[in-house]
């Protein structure tokens, strides 16, 4: 079994408030393990606690109770030194929703260099990392451009390059595709998949697009601060009723097949794509024809 890079043990979190009575827990006794090299999609409607969870893993927030293990070591806010803290943060990158609010420099390559510069990497190596990162996201020819000349999807890829240049083991995407047009979304998603497949980066992709979640190895559904469903995309999306009850959509084809199934036809529950759906129906009809002609 692969190494566990993030382990949440009975984690609860609530935002501080002046009135203890209105402290509603955002995360509620959450337990989770993320394996090294996996591509995990996190689904949940607004306010389910999915972004808060990401911020805990990235050490922006600290849990109110429970234990967080990063790379096999328990994270303890009291004893961690500043250098250890930044070393952990460097290993867990995070890309946010609005690309504009992540870029700090007026020139693309200067922005990508920002992270390594903060780490105190020698200049020649920064150059190398920046070129490599821009190559991975396919934005090399825009190195000398200014961010405001780029489209949303391109800016988001620059933001990803800025994280790649830190050489993290895990990258958390916090609804990084939500503000983009379809073209930008598919470019960003292709970049995410490339990072996972080719470079073995562990990916935690927070989204509310079903089509994106389907492409992950594992899907986690979060509702009211705890995990509702956890499994492969096919397993998770076969729970159409549960997903609908927490305000999430399921792929249309999965839902269609489920409805037909409920009318007494024996069709599979875990169909995700249109091709699979069409094949399942065709198989069913052929089978039936074979049986009736016999």
């Amino acid at each position: 079994m692969a190494e566990i890079v993030i382990k949440a043990e009975d984690i609860s979190f609530s935002y501080e408030s002046d009135h203890p009575a209105d402290q509603i827990p955002v995360l509620n006794h959450l337990n989770l393990e993320i394996e090294k090299g996996s591509f995990v999609a996190v689904l949940g409607h607004n306010g389910s606690g999915k972004s808060t969870m990401a911020k805990l893993f990235n050490l922006i927030l600290t849990p109110t109770s429970g234990n967080l293990y990063l790379f096999g070591k328990k994270f303890d806010e009291e004893t961690v030194t500043e250098d250890e803290f930044f070393a952990l943060r460097q290993r867990i990158g995070m890309v946010f929703q609005n690309p504009d609010n992540q870029l700090v420099a007026t020139i693309v390559e200067e922005d990508v260099a920002f992270g390594p510069e903060n780490l105190g990497v020698p200049p020649a190596e920064i150059r190398e990392r920046v070129d490599a990162a821009l190559e991975i996201v396919g934005m090399k020819e825009f190195a000398r451009h200014s961010p405001h000349q780029l489209s949303g999807g391109q800016k988001q890829r620059i933001a990803i390059a800025g994280i790649i240049a830190l050489r993290p083991d895990i990258i958390i995407f916090d609804e990084s595709t939500a503000m983009l047009d379809p073209r930008g979304r598919s470019d960003v998603l292709a970049t995410i998949e490339k990072l996972n497949r080719e470079f073995g980066t562990t990916i935690l992709h927070i989204t509310h697009y079903m089509e994106e979640a389907i492409r992950a190895d594992r899907v986690i559904v979060i509702d009211s601060g705890s995990i509702l469903l956890d499994g492969t995309p096919a397993e998770v999306f076969s729970n159409v009723r549960t997903l609908k009850s927490v305000g999430l959509d399921v792929p249309q084809v999965t839902e269609l097949l489920l409805e037909i199934r409920e009318d007494g036809f024996n069709l599979p529950k875990n169909v995700l794509s249109y091709e699979e759906g069409a094949r399942a129906i065709a198989d069913y009809l052929n089978q039936k024809k074979g049986r009736s002609s016999r």
Partner: protein, 272 residues
């Protein structure tokens, strides 16, 4: 409409002036300003004028652009000229009318002042604005001032603030335009009424803009923290500035100009 505002006045290019180290350019621009005020005699002014024309020619920026950059100076020029003409104390009175008197000294002072302002504006804008990108300018300022960090001046913080301000000007303009459009769509009227009405009409633009900027600042701070930003200490830079041979030649040229002006001031009578 707001999007068309250009950031700074940088003209990308490959001239000698573009390639100079920004630190050297900053230092030379300061020297140049001093030089302009050192000139006393007519030939000294002529030499500076010649040198300025040379700088413009080397930079590859067209003379038309430089002349156009002087346009906002028009009123300043007229104002200082008038003040110098009418309020200078001189002995050789040329013309009087009531309390006003035009003297020879006043006239000369007005003309030399105007020439100084024009030279000052033309040279510094060519050296620092047209041929230096805003980012290398801030970079140059940060590195020139870095010794001050030892006595506790937050040089890095100021440079970071400047870079980010430059980065967010276009974003801010875009957002302002969006808010203007949104308010117009709801029937807001920005164009009619007197000045006070127009100023009041700006409130529904400024408040949403302010709020969104606070939100943006918070998100940006989080994103910077995620990229391991912890202030200037222990940071390295990707681009390392190094003085090249051309920087020393540029310094030499300005030093020669300084020597020339001092000599011309000695051999020719001062205008005043």
């Amino acid at each position: 409409m707001l999007k068309d505002i250009t950031l700074g006045q940088y003209f990308p290019g490959n001239s000698l002036l573009h390639k100079l180290d920004p630190r050297m350019k900053l230092l030379l621009a300061i020297c140049y300003i001093v030089l302009i005020f050192l000139a006393k005699s007519a030939p000294a002014y002529a030499l500076i004028l010649l040198f300025t024309v040379l700088i413009v020619a080397v930079s590859g920026v067209s003379f038309g652009v430089v002349l156009r950059s002087l346009k906002p100076l028009f009123f300043v020029l007229i104002f200082t000229t008038l003040i110098n003409v009418f309020w200078s104390n001189g002995t050789t009175v040329l013309w009087t009318w009531g309390p006003f008197a035009i003297t020879r000294e006043g006239l000369i002072r007005a003309v030399t002042m105007a020439i100084r302002i024009v030279l000052l504006m033309a040279s510094t804008s060519v050296i620092l604005m047209y041929t230096t990108s805003p980012i290398s300018l801030t970079d140059g300022i940060e590195r020139l001032l870095s010794p001050l960090a030892k006595i506790g001046v937050p040089v890095h913080t100021f440079a970071m603030m400047m870079t980010m301000a430059l980065r967010f000007i276009p974003t801010l303009l875009e957002e302002t335009q969006k808010i203007i459009n949104a308010q117009k769509a709801r029937g807001a009227d920005f164009d009619s009424g007197n000045l006070i009405d127009k100023a009041k009409a700006l409130i529904p633009i400024l408040i949403p803009l302010l709020i969104s900027q606070f939100r943006r600042a918070e998100e940006l701070a989080t994103a910077m923290e995620c990229r391991c930003y912890r202030g200037g200490g222990g940071r390295t830079r990707m681009t390392v500035l190094r003085f090249a041979l051309r920087d020393f030649f540029a310094a030499l040229a300005v030093a020669a100009l300084l020597a020339g002006i001092i000599l011309l001031n000695l051999y020719f009578p001062a205008l005043l």
